[in-house]
Subunit: 336 residues, 4 copies
């Protein structure tokens, strides 16, 4: 059990808003991208990955976003539909914007990097006119991710969606997902992240992401408990701070903390760990599991995805997740 | 008496942030600008005018803003200094920005218009790096005005100043001052106005400005009491809604409402009415007057300014204001 | 007599293309602009000034340009009409552009400076669609000035006008009029100046302007005769190089050179010297005078204008010019 | 033999300037890109392809261009070096620009399309400072292509290179290569294409490209002989007009015309036909072949490339070209 007030009468479990893009993952791994020759195309973008993961696990899921009017955009729509994600709120740009791209380079499990194409990306052209109050109030939860705040008009669209969510008591998850290349400065990022975060129920991010949000305001920083307390003084009921390989720690408003462990796996690449964690963690919470169990779901999903080639297409089904949990042991006791 | 908690130990009464620009008022009045030949130069910009008015009335005042590195910018700084406004937080742009201009046309007291030059204006280039937490916490009150939210990086600078003000219990006045020409869309405006207003103690605007803020969120609108209630549910303690020639109405969190009347005057132009009202109203509140008395100060100051050629240079001193109040009668009873 | 082949059958003597803007000249002279309080409004912009000067002297003149849809734009159109300049090719912007401004500061006759407002100026929005081949071929001569080459789409419009002029044997005057603030770099300027100049019949500029054009191409530079020869190898028939207070030198394709002297005058400011020179010089050439006489006209006109407050409104009529020439003596013998 | 005056004492045969980018060709052909899953990476861009083709055939080749500071940029440099193209004038952007991309879709040999990523492309950031007069005068010929004229500062860099080429009697080939997506309007394109073309010795383009150049100037258009004559009145010595599947026609300044035929091949896709034609045609001319023979080389090279998967990597060596010519018959007699 957890304290999040999901309204059981709503038709959608989770609506995600924001980035829909394309990953082009190098097929030849273990080498720099200068030497890779072929790439495989997948749907990508943090909220897209989380929505896909959530849908695979069985949540009734919708998406609010904007696609380029090209083959890449149509590929993404087809993939959403195939995964049973409602795409009625996914609009199409007609101004010549393109689909954002992420080329991945997998030199080794520890050395992964991404080459981004984000200029004139269609997803950042979502407008307030495309946000339906009626749609949002049909969902138990809304997922926003930080990249959609990076530019206008997408930023305003997300703030409007957030306002509707608050008004209609939709539980809001904020996956910080900070990607410096789409922002003008760290200060700009911190301002809008803070304005959004103070209205959210669950905030999930890395220690570095929380530091970025606190530095601008001269907060002392780097103390997980103080960070959590800061957000509990606003609207947050649950704050998850990720420490990379050292695992994660979740704080609840009752001052309790919960540490997640990890599952051993043969790591191919680290991409997708955060998104798969978030999707299974949200799934767990929405199924009424307690925070620790939901974190365990998250860790298991992450272990599955980082052993596979893609982020989105690698997301496990509920059966796969359960099988994995039954047949693998969590390693606890990470200390930091 | 009023409910605003001004901390008497602070050295500054009022710090204003935002636009500093130049008014060029046609000397030949009663005709279209096509036929005017000479112009007189004054300091302008809503927060600048309010700071000048407040300083003339005796408040210890400071300004946070940015000037162009040119003769217009230096003229503004000189004028602030002459009016005893602390300019230690007024920085200078070095990227080639210009000073915003407002050419005024006075066809008749009822037909006044402004021709704006706001492209590449220095005041909108204020950055978060130029906001001092220490300076803000030395003031009893902070005045923000809507124009400074129109563009990045000034927008982020104002949000940071606002956060510091909240943290240090500085009373925040928000003069909505909505000028469509610097904004991309009404939706963009409404998003940032709402994000700012929900952190402010006193919100002053016209009925149309409040409508603009409510329309985006599908609020029913146009009901003053409902508008005030909406903001009392956030941080506001006082909401002033202006109805042009019909006067203003102020709501306090105790559900009381206060109507202001007007003073008869020989109107030259309507420019500056709002800024002079705000400066004397704030002065009244900070001197511990009750809301109705402060509104009466505002109306008197407005009457003085609209009978004179400039906005800033026409602001009355305390002696002038008192003399006017003694020798003129307020007309009450506006009904709406 | 001069070698320029003006076609006597054409209805227009001179069509100018490019900048139409507003000068705001400080009424209080002999001080920095920080201390000036009032300004007088005049039509300005190099090609506008030259067209006005030429029309005052009696040439049948037209203008191709674009105005802002505001009071400043309408003031300019009225002034063109009053001065008998055909404005049928002067279009109006409907995208919100403004009228370019030039605030002048006259500290002393030797210390004059200009504060420009050129962001989003309507004149630079002239498009190729607004250039009429039929109009251009009705003129004996076309005047282009460098500022119109500074930005797209005005730049393309001028190149198209130039192509029509060449096709229909319209004599092209190029007043270099280099204003750094509208250009991105000296290299960009040099490229387009050279592409335009190589199609022109008469090129008029300062030594510094010709240097700027030659530096990029690694030409040795600073030798007037070599500069002239470079342009004679293209299309030029007459090259005028101005050396400020030292007077000007004109080269004709037959290798002859002509030096102009100056007239003593009580100088108020130096603005407008070049434009008034150009207008009377062109007038002289079009009336069939030899180069030296035309230069004498130019010097006389310049002397008149620099003793007066404006650039455009100060342009002499033919009667004024003749009276001045009769009653003043040219000082020759400038050596450089 | 042909009339082009290649200076035999120069160390380079051909220097190309402009676009260096990446092609991502769908591996799954015969279907829309929505259904393709993997892509293979090649060097692309018209001048890059022509330089690669020329180098493969044995010309001593150099390149002037700019690369992104990323894995794609380094891949391109490596490929140029492997193909013996001098890359000493290929600079690296340090402002965060990306490598231009072209995703290709091959539905059928007749239905090929390209999805371009050209926002913030590094190749368009080449500046005049990066153009070496000394390098250009070391080459017998310079190849420019139209895309490099699309934006500043690349446009100015190409005009400077062109000026150096004219000054040092480097033969200039202009492959029009008109790609609408990088231009603001057809009028803008036509202006700069014309300004460049009038300085070139050999102009190669499709009928549609020549029409675009003539439409703006109200030329009657669509008559090949008139088109050629127009350019012979400037600097051109050879004009090649391509009519797609109907073959090409070349005009020489002596009024002779030459028609090229085609070679039968199993067409995989049409991309690369123009670039391979140009590279072998230039090779033929530089080896002293007459125009008809050079055109035959071009047609043979095009036949080879359109039967293969890539554009650049498919370029034949001299041995491959000769073998093809020996073993295949040209089909002549195209009539239009």
């Amino acid at each position: 059990m957890n304290a999040l007030p999901f309204d059981p009468t709503r038709p959608f479990d989770l609506v995600a808003i924001g980035r829909l893009c394309i990953d082009l993952n190098a097929n030849e791994t273990g080498r720099p991208m200068e030497e890779t020759v072929t790439f495989t195309k997948y749907v990508g973008g943090s909220p897209a990955n989380i929505a896909i993961g959530a849908a695979r696990l069985g949540l009734r899921t919708g998406f609010i976003g904007k696609l380029a009017d090209d083959q890449m955009g149509r590929f993404i729509r087809g993939y959403l539909q195939t995964n049973n994600i409602d795409d009625s709120q996914v609009t199409v740009d007609h101004t010549g914007a393109v689909t954002g791209l992420a080329f991945t380079e997998i030199k080794s499990p520890q050395e992964c990097s991404i080459l981004m194409y984000r200029d004139h990306a269609a997803d950042l052209l979502l407008t307030t006119e495309e946000i339906s109050e009626d749609y949002i109030r049909q969902s138990k939860a809304l997922l926003i991710s930080g990249t959609a705040l990076a530019q206008s008009p997408s930023r305003e669209a997300v703030f409007l969606a957030l306002e509707y969510a608050v008004k209609h008591e939709v539980v809001v998850f904020f996956d910080l997902d900070y990607r410096p290349y789409t922002w003008k400065s760290a200060a700009e990022t911190a301002v809008y992240y803070n304005l959004a975060a103070e209205k959210c129920d669950v905030i999930i991010g890395t220690r570095e992401e929380f530091d970025m949000m606190e530095n601008l305001y001269n907060e002392p920083g780097a103390d997980d408990r103080a960070t959590a307390a800061r957000w509990f003084s606003r609207q947050a009921k649950l704050v998850v701070i990720k420490h990379g390989g050292k695992g994660s720690i979740a704080y609840t408003a009752d001052e309790a903390s919960h540490r997640s462990g990890i599952f051993r796996t043969k790591v191919l690449k680290t991409f997708g760990a955060g998104d798969s964690y978030a999707s299974a963690f949200i799934f767990g919470l929405m199924k009424g599991e307690d925070v620790s169990t939901a974190m365990r779901f998250g860790s298991a999903s992450a272990s599955l995805v980082i052993s596979r080639h893609s982020c989105s297409d690698a997301m496990p089904t509920r059966a796969e997740l359960e099988l994995f949990l039954e047949s693998n042991e969590e390693i606890t006791g990470a200390a930091y």
